[in-house]
Every structure is written in C-alpha cells, then in structure tokens.
C-alpha cells in the first residue's frame, strides 16, 4: 500500500522558510491512512489514490483562470485557484488584508496564526505542509462590505495542495464562501484551512463542493474560537469520487460557539465522509451540528462526529444530529457519534436516523398532479435544505438546495 509514497516527488524550495516547512511536513507524514487507521476506517483513502494522482507536475501552470465561469448573483471579493494555483492578480479592499501564503509565512504577522495543527494527528495536513506553496492568508480587520469568495477550478489531473489562513479580528462579522468545481479527471486536492475567530467576532464559512466524478478531495478546516466568538460552517457536498470534509473546532474561551451544518447528496459510487471534532475547552461554550445525507445508487456516506467536553468546560451545551435518506438497496451509510464528556454540568446530545422517503408524502404530491420523479426531487431537496435553514444571508442561501 505504501508503494504510493514512492511516487511522491517532494518539493524542495530554495527559500529557507518554505524549505523548513516542507521538511517539517515531510518528517511528520509517515504514511497514507488505511482501513486499519481508526480515524479513516470507513474512508481508506490509500485504496483510491493512484500514482498518477500524486504527480505534482502532471499539470502545467495555467495563468488563464476561468473567472467568468462563475456568475455569482452578488458582489464579492473573489479569489481564484486554477488546478491548485492561486491567481495572483487579485483585488483586496481596506477591510481585508490579503497575502499569498508563501509570502505570508515569511512575515511576522502570520506567526500566531499558522501551523497550529497537530501534524501527527492529521496526516494530510502534514502532507499539505510538505507542499506548502499555494494558498491565501486573509486577515479581516473590519467587517467587510461583501462576502469573500474562493473559487477552485480543477481542470487537470494531478496533485494539488492548498493552505489557507483566515483570521477574523475582534468584533468582525464576515462571510467566507468556498466553491469547488472540477472536470472528471483523476486529481487529488488536499486543502487545509486554518481559521481564527477572535473575541466577539463571527465568521460564517460556506462550502459548496462539486468536484469532478474522479476526484479525491480531502479538506480539513481547523478553527480556533476565542471569547464570545462564533464560527458557523455550512457545507453542501455533491461531487467527487472520494471526499473527506473534516472540521475541527476548538472553543477555546468562554461563550465561544460553533454551528457545523452539512448536507451531502451521493450518486453513482460516490463516497463522502463528514468528520467533525468539536472541542469544548472553556465554560459556557455551545456547539450545534446538523448533518443530512441523501444516498442513492451505490453511494457511501460516512459521518463521524465527536463532541469533546473538557473538565473545566462547565455549563456547556453540545448537540449533534445526523439524518440520512437511503434511496437505493445498495446505498450505504456509516455513522459514528462520539461524546467525550469530562465535566458534569453540561447539556449534550446526539442522534442518528436513516430511512427512505415517505410513501404517503409522495402519494400526496402525485395526487396533486406532480409526477413521481419530481415529487421525489421536491422531497429530497426539502430534506437537504434543513441543514441551511439558518443561513442568514438570503443571497448565499440561494446557492444551497431549497424547496
């Protein structure tokens, strides 16, 4: 299995700062996780990756970025990645400070906000660090007038690593949207986001993932939330061959809160893994997770959701619910909720359900003239949209499934 490792051509940058990070990442990356790796037992990534997908040079750098491919229905700060390469001619305003990550790591400012991830625990973050070069550092100084949008277009095969760092300064309210689109080529996108929500700030993070049918997409969002800060994450996933969307939130200080909602719609032999780990590390913290999956054909959904409550995190509330619709006999879902509670004065719950569409609801719609295919579509969208009910910005809400 670890034959794969031999196919990697490691990056060796001339710049000493980058070189040091590459060495560090490489040292931390031991092997690709397999079925035997507990955190990946339902999602054995190594079985899907091919030598070709690990080739960092199989795609040429393409400066022609398809900006026009996306017509966002609202004004936004737009940043574009083509096949993993950041389009470096971008416009920033005075409310946000933007630097390419390879430049940012050479400055002092990013210091406190970079590489805060335990690389031993997150093998793909180690791998990502070994290829540190592309990505953005954004520091949001003031509440921006418009959402920040990252567009990722993947047209060619090969290995793409992206590392972003987003810092929402004290009291700032911001919306950040990631949109992934890809052609049906065998590529491997490995993306790591380090997110810092400072005191009383609120960052809403949206993700719309529609990778190509042959893509492997591994994403880690690692968020740190300070006193009174709010991190809200919404994800809709419907593409890719194998996808892992992992969210790790640390509610570091009092009154920090997190909302982690996701929905996925699986067709063909698509495999989508939603893994969360919410750590309540201080008193009066709160988290809410609502994940909904619709699995059709031979799709395989995975949900691993952990709520960890530290001994000092009294008066904490943590809630988690996963609901799945299985629409075919071969559809499959694995659900692993975990509660680790070390404090005694807490409110905590988790729940999981799975089932088919309700036949009486289908009949009701049909009896009003709506054909079965449309009726099922209406009900599937209604099921999925529950994950996005709370999205506050109506323009952004329209990007998600709705009734």
């Amino acid at each position: 299995m670890q034959e794969l490792l031999k196919n990697i051509v490691w990056l060796e940058d001339d710049n000493p700062v980058l070189f040091a990070w590459h060495q560090k990442g490489r040292a931390a990356f031991k092997e690709f996780p397999t079925k035997k790796t507990e955190a990946y037992k339902y999602t054995p990534v190594s079985e899907v990756l091919t030598p070709e997908m690990l080739n960092v040079k199989s795609h040429v750098k393409d400066d022609h970025c398809d900006h026009g491919a996306h017509h966002l229905p609202f004004d936004a700060y737009e940043f574009c990645f083509c096949d993993g390469h950041l389009h470096r001619h971008f416009h920033a305003g005075d409310d946000i400070e933007v630097l390419p990550i390879d430049e940012a790591v050479k400055t002092n400012e990013i210091g406190a906000y970079f590489a805060k991830i335990d690389l031993a625990q997150y093998p793909f973050a180690a791998l990502n660090t070994a290829f540190l070069k592309e990505g953005l550092f954004i520091r949001i100084h003031k509440t921006p007038q418009k959402p920040i949008v990252f567009l990722y277009h993947n047209k060619n095969r090969g290995f793409k690593n992206i590392r972003n760092v987003i810092v929402a300064d004290k009291g700032v309210k911001a919306e950040w949207i990631e949109m992934f689109e890809g052609k049906d080529e065998a590529y491997f996108l490995n993306i790591v986001n380090e997110i810092f929500v400072l005191n009383e700030a609120k960052l809403t993070h949206h993700k719309l993932q529609h990778e190509g049918e042959e893509a492997v997409h591994i994403a880690l969002s690692d968020a740190h939330v300070k006193e009174g800060g709010q991190y809200q994450s919404y994800a809709f996933e419907k593409g890719g061959k194998l996808v892992r969307n992992e969210t790790h939130v640390m509610l570091n200080q009092e009154n920090a809160s997190a909302r982690v909602n996701a929905a996925y719609h699986l067709l063909r032999k698509c495999h989508i893994d939603t893994t969360t780990n919410i750590e309540h590390l201080s008193e009066n913290t709160r988290s809410d997770q609502l994940v909904r999956g619709v699995i059709d054909d031979k799709g395989h959904g995975v949900f691993q959701g952990k709520i960890h409550i530290a001994p000092d995190a009294q008066k904490t509330e943590g809630y988690q619910i996963h609901k799945a619709l299985l629409l075919s006999d071969e559809a499959k879902v694995d659900v692993k909720p975990e509660l680790e509670i070390f404090a005694d004065d807490v409110k905590c719950s988790h729940g999981a359900t799975s089932g088919d569409l309700n036949q009486d609801e289908i009949f009701y719609l049909e009896s009003r003239g709506i054909d079965e295919t449309s009726a099922r579509q209406v009900l599937v969208n209604a099921f999925l949209q529950a994950a996005f009910d709370d999205v506050e910005n109506p323009d952004i809400k329209k990007l998600y499934p709705s009734d």
Partner: protein, 259 residues
C-alpha cells in the same frame, strides 16, 4: 340529463386491497354539475372507494371499470388523474416538512399547465392568483409560507385543501369525510369553497357517515353504501331518513352482490 356528459362512470366495480374485495359490484354515474353523497356505516368500504379512484398504491381493481371523462381511469397514472381534473379533499392531509405551501402550489399549478400544454405562470401572476383565492378562504400569508400542513389544525388543513381545489379547478372533487370527526367551522369554509367552484361543469362526490355535512352542501343524490355497493339511492330526504332510522334497517333489506 341528455345534454350532459358523465364525469365519472363506475361500472360493476370490484376492488380492494391485496386479495380482499372491499368494493363489490359498485355502479354509479355522475354527470357534470351534480352533487352526489355516499353515506354508510363505518367499515362499509367508503374510504376504499376514494383510494381506488385516486390511485393510492396498494388498491387494485379486479373487475369492472371506471371511466373518468370517458377515459379508463385504471390506465391513468396518479398525477395524470389529477391533471385530468380529479381532486381528492383528503380526510387526513399529509404533513411535508421542508416544503413551503407556495412551492408546493407552484409545482402543482405548473404541472397541470404543462399537462394542458400551457407555459408556466410567471412568478407575479402565480402570487397574485394564490393570494386572490387565499383571501376568499381567510388564509394568511404566514400560512402560505409555512411547510405543507406542518403544525396546522384540522380546520386549517381543510382550508388549505380547499385552496388547492380552488386553484386546480377540478372536474370532479371527492370530499372524503368517511370517518373523521366533523369540525363545523372547517366544514363551512370547505363547503363554501365547493359551492363557489360549482359552476355547473364540475361534479362533487361526498363520502361521509354524517348527514350534518349535507346541511351545507346540498346533494342531488344520496346513496346508501353497504357491503361494498350502493343499496339504495334517493334525494336528500334519504339522508334525513337515515338519520332517523339508522343504517341497520337499510342493510337488512340489502341484497348481497359479492364479486
């Protein structure tokens, strides 16, 4: 009667669930503009009739036929029956979380229009149309924005059923009240909706075991239903006779016409 077209013709119908015949040799013809009431005791098979007519999965016709505006109903899919103009006011309308009434109505109206070869209504025209009808039924904007029937009272559900009927303008509406307790206020609204709709081209079939309903919607014909078929037909005075005497005497006289 001669200048009228039958909307529904049921001929020697035997139907039921799985192998159990519940409707036995039922025959009934309904013409445009007529109001028919089928009355009978619980367990007589009244609800089965509405399920068979709308095509609810699991209900099968074993003998006889049903013609709806001249077409063999058994050959029409559920949605096509609706788009041809069959509408069931359900006894217990289903709650559908996550689908707002407006979205649901838009789908229903535009599917019917597509069936008729018409373009979908524009958003403003749709909203105007719904609000016009909703106002007549005292249905608020808030009710229209909520998910289909979710958390609605029995009366509110009936009003929403009536709204759908008013918008879809069926040729035949079936009011299934086979065993639900009657809410008089809801009944008034529904019956007003039905009476408003009846422009002489539409027909109505009421299925009930209460005669109270018939105080609000005046039937042209009352049929007593037992043992899976009609055992006696009369005008609305038959309903009062039923009220006075109960079903037992009628059933005793009835013939058994099993399939």
């Amino acid at each position: 009667m001669t200048n009228k077209t039958p909307v529904l013709e049921i001929k020697n119908l035997c139907a039921g669930v799985a192998s159990q015949e519940i409707i036995q040799n039922l025959s009934l013809t309904i013409y445009e503009g007529q109001v028919h009431a089928i009355m009978g005791p619980n367990g007589a098979g009244k609800s089965t009739l509405s399920h068979v007519l709308t095509g609810k999965p699991g209900y099968e016709i074993s003998k006889g036929e049903v013609l709806f505006k001249g077409q063999d109903l058994a050959k029409l899919k559920i949605e096509d029956r609706a788009n041809e103009g069959l509408f069931l006011i359900m006894q217990y309308p289903v709650e559908i979380a996550g689908v707002s009434f407006m979205t649901f109505l838009k789908h229903a109206i535009n599917k019917k229009r597509a069936y008729q070869g018409l373009a979908p209504l524009s958003a403003p025209a749709f909203i105007k149309l719904v609000h016009e009808e909703a106002d007549k039924l005292n249905i608020s904007d808030d009710m229209l924005k909520r998910a289909v029937n979710v958390g609605f009272s029995g009366g509110e559900k009936k009003r929403m059923e009536t709204l759908q009927m008013a918008l879809l303008k069926p040729s035949l509406a079936i009011l299934d009240e086979a065993d639900s307790g009657l809410d008089i206020d809801a009944l008034k609204v529904v019956s007003k909706g039905i009476n408003d709709l009846n422009d002489g081209k539409r027909a109505l079939l009421i299925i009930t075991h209460h005669q109270d309903l018939l105080d609000y919607i005046e039937p042209d014909f009352v049929h007593v239903f037992a043992n899976g078929h009609i055992i006696k037909t009369g005008d609305k005075t038959l309903a009062y006779e039923l009220e006075a005497k109960g079903y037992t005497d009628f059933i005793k006289e009835a013939s058994c016409k099993s399939c």
